[in-house]
Symmetry: C2
């Protein structure tokens, strides 16, 4: 017995990740009852973002301009290219401040079963960029999942073909982690990659 | 180093209840990367809802029409009026199917400290409705919180003045609940309101 438009709005909220029927209803009622202004700003910003945001022509990350601010910046080292799966990975690496080079965003990982091959994750664009030979090191930062590892391996082959140095982020015990709660895969990696001190 | 428009979108998502910076970023990236269509539908529906949805002229609930579907329905008993705090309370009572009368939605509760008095929760409209004398019972279903109880008490006084029968939803042990985990307030209410069997 909801009004059809409210029902439609609740359904529309359910596309968001982690939002079930109860949260969707709560969001809809909250905006309509208490924050119409916030709802209206959200609607406008979302419409504009969906309309205007596309991919950076150099690194494939999300941006509303032709090339993103990192690719445009003259303060970033062009020799190091960090390869990540998604724009949120870029933002977490930027927060750490450890990396001063440029990025290449795959927007996914190899997954032949879903029809996602090298071309879908932009590896042809990456190869073109390696041909320019301004890049001297690829730092592969795909996720340590089965698909992420397979993607890393594939990119390693490309790098070898173009005689570019290639590295992978270290695996081991996370800072502040406790051995007791660590999975055995991570622990094995930490043993194998142990460092002399 | 996010693009400004993406940053704006993440900020806009933070108005939603229960959405912090991480979830907001996840929502923004999810829609832009994987579901632009869903994002566009959400933006349109939200803009339309914020624009068109107002309050039912009879019961004050949210609706895009002059009066809501429940107030319009000829199948609902007009003699019983259930008083709730919000439209989500209407929807949960409707789901139970136990009530066949009409509603009156306060859109809040009395809270003098926030400047919310009888007029802000529509009690003047409610009094007008009681003057018509088609209503013979008020069922008060405000939340069993301090403000909800105070509101219930205030409405009870209005009902007495208009010589209308007034009742309050029963309090006690919820179905499927376990005594072990029950708060002592609920347990006391259940003892006081025990029924002969």
């Amino acid at each position: 017995m909801q009004s059809p438009l409210i029902q439609e709005l609740i359904e529309a909220f359910r596309v968001l990740p982690g939002v079930g029927p109860k949260s969707a209803q709560r969001m809809a009622f909250y905006l309509l009852e208490q924050n119409k202004n916030g709802g209206s700003v959200l609607a406008k910003t979302l419409a504009k973002a969906v309309e205007e945001i596309g991919h950076c022509s150099l690194c494939r990350t999300l941006t509303e301009e032709e090339t993103c601010s990192i690719c445009q910046s003259s303060r970033r080292a062009t020799g190091e290219l960090c390869i990540v799966e998604s724009p949120s990975d870029v933002s977490v690496i930027e927060q750490s401040g450890i990396f001063q080079g440029q990025y290449f965003v795959l927007m996914g990982h190899l997954s032949p079963i879903d029809g996602i091959g090298p071309k879908q994750i932009g590896l042809d664009t990456l190869e073109k960029r390696l041909n320019d030979d301004s890049v001297h090191e690829l730092i592969i930062a795909t996720n340590p999942t089965v698909e992420g590892e397979a993607t890393a391996h594939y990119i390693q082959q490309i790098a070898l073909k173009h005689q570019v140095k290639v590295s992978r982020l270290a695996q081991g015990i996370p800072m502040g982690g406790e051995l007791e709660y660590l999975d055995s895969g991570t622990l094995s990696q930490a043993f194998l990659a142990r460092k002399a001190m």
